[in-house]
Symmetry: C2
Subunit: 364 residues, 2 copies
């Protein structure tokens, strides 16, 4: 059955760069084929550029963004290790859950949804944490948490950052900010389908990795021996070849445009979306000054909706009538907030214009 | 840079069914889009047909086959649980490693590479194991291990089977054989790229799952709540949408042909390959009577090679001159054995004819 062609303005996945679609069907290669390894090497090099790092251990993990989160904790946490986690949304809370399953003694620093986390609170939460972990761009709330101050104040702790919704869409500086480990996902501002988790680990974090993590599949030492040519290309698991092609192409499109230009494009689209929503009478959910451009959250109430239509039905109308997907709220704001993504190839002025026009039209 | 179009006769990945290539570029959808959920439901139903099961918990995990292995043990093993593992190759040994990292007390039943594992030895290895685990089709040796007798004799133990290289390419009967949990991979006899791990779990194994496994990413209860509509589609992680499209299409192609017909095609190709290699003077590695058709292992020595060319160089000649990939040996038989896959869309008589012709031509 034919599938509909959507304008994907939810919290991810986004629409794909045309170059990515083409790359998905490049000829299939074996995971040890020299031609594939060449593409893989180039992909890792492009990831370094986008993460703004020289970290040797920089690669795409064979799982979605959540696998990146799990890899971070499973490789760094030994049972009983103290870990400080900032929580102001679903993904901070997920970090707590994942770290605890790895055996961490977690200290939570929690603030209300919609608010950013004060770096000082994170830095002061525990006298000697092994890890301080925070989400850079909270996909569940549209809030940006500050990273740079954490890198400056972390002391002996390792700074672990979730860059799932930030990478490629806003400034992220792994090395300059003192980030020891960061992971991301492909289906947000990189314009690639979901399926891989880019990750980067500096030498300080590598030295702190547990020798035999509880997960074999996400063991970064073993994976590094395959991905990094200096590891002798030791077989670990079969790389998901077409997804690597897709990521390679998406990063290529992004870097052909320019990393700063991509940041600026996401920023510009978010800004006109924020202004347009304001004109339509919406109130934005995330605290002013810490709002993401690539993922906008707005309160939704009856006055934004046609009479007798609730927010879920309105999203259904957008989907069926215009082919536009936007996202609903999660957790405490389910049914009260929309999440509107403008990421990757979706981050075009025309898509913002379309959505604002559709919202006005349906309500009229 | 353009990539070469290979004939993939290594131990996987195989060549893709044309329907799979087309499906990779179906319009991108969100992971909660009703149209995507329809494709996902149909994919799970097709997996049940191919696994020969009615198990409700049957789904594609968002990782490669090795993630399927890890999911099996991480969901079933509590620290200290006794687990019996059959080892006659790399993947049996990997099961030991993964189970141990989950905290299992592993009893190994080891036999030499190339030999099958006697079911009686597995059944008698421990008085009360929680799990008996074995690889059905050892990709590292080309050996088939018997499953049915294990299901008959397992008693209170759970039978966990690695069906990575068997599923779709030879008889596999999850329900009739009494398999409690089986996992597979997409890039072998299903003719799909690497990236997903189909898994099926019966009610007996579900009841034995640990309540909060060490892995959040591979927590089958949480994943089931998203994949199974009765779980309310609770968001867990973002599904790798195009890979699900690819698996859906690969299973569609396979079932349009017919499951038994696919088994027979793999069997036929393997048989003419075995006969052809014999005529060329090769000796097969795997024990007669337990040889896989879809993955053939053969001893390689100087008399099979042009003078001055070693086996790795010969594989390189096949790759560069003919675009044919075959695999080298692993572990104790590295440099001594070839592994020749004939799986998925690669399992065509013409590919066997081509490889045999190329081997004869290069040696001449």
């Amino acid at each position: 059955m034919p599938l509909s062609d959507r304008v994907l303005m939810g919290p991810g996945p986004c629409n794909l760069y045309p170059e990515v679609v083409a790359a998905m069907v490049r000829p299939m290669l074996g995971h040890l084929d020299p031609e594939f390894l060449g593409v893989l090497d180039e992909t890792c090099e492009r990831l370094r550029t986008v993460f703004r790092t020289t970290n040797r251990l920089t690669l795409p993990l064979s799982g979605t963004g959540s696998a990146g989160m799990e890899a971070a904790f499973v490789n760094l946490v030994a049972p009983g290790d103290p870990v400080v986690v900032g929580v102001n949304g679903v993904f901070g809370q997920r970090m707590v859950e994942v770290a605890q399953r790895c055996g961490a003694e977690v200290t939570k620093v929690e603030v209300p949804w919609g608010e950013p986390i004060d770096p000082a609170a994170l830095l002061g939460a525990h006298p000697a944490p092994k890890i301080i972990a925070v989400v850079h761009a909270e996909t569940s709330t549209g809030v940006r948490n500050d990273i740079e101050a954490l890198g400056q104040g972390k002391g002996d702790a390792l700074l672990v950052v979730d860059a799932v919704t930030s990478l490629g869409g806003m400034p992220f500086e792994a090395d300059a900010w003192g980030v020891d480990l960061a992971y991301s996902a492909t289906q947000k501002c990189l314009g690639v389908p979901p399926g891989l988790a880019p990750i980067t680990v500096n030498e300080r974090a590598r030295a702190a990795m547990v020798p035999r993590p509880r997960s074999w599949y996400l063991d970064l030492s073993l994976i590094g021996d395959y991905v990094d040519s200096s590891g002798g290309r030791t077989y670990h698991h079969t790389a998901p070849v077409p997804m690597v092609f897709a990521l390679h192409a998406g990063l290529g499109a992004l870097l052909d445009e320019g990393l700063e230009q991509s940041w600026a494009r996401h920023q510009h689209c978010g800004q006109i979306l924020h202004e347009g929503l304001d004109k339509l009478g919406f109130h934005l959910f995330a605290r002013d000054g810490h709002r993401l451009a690539q993922l906008t959250t707005a309160w939704v109430s009856e006055r934004h909706l046609p009479s007798g239509v609730d927010e879920a039905q309105m999203r259904e109308i957008l989907l069926s009538r215009y082919g536009i997907e936007i996202g609903g709220g999660l957790g405490p704001v389910v049914g009260k907030v929309w999440r509107i993504g403008c990421m990757g190839h979706t981050a075009r002025v025309r898509n913002v214009t379309l959505l604002l026009g559709a919202l006005a039209e349906v309500r009229a």
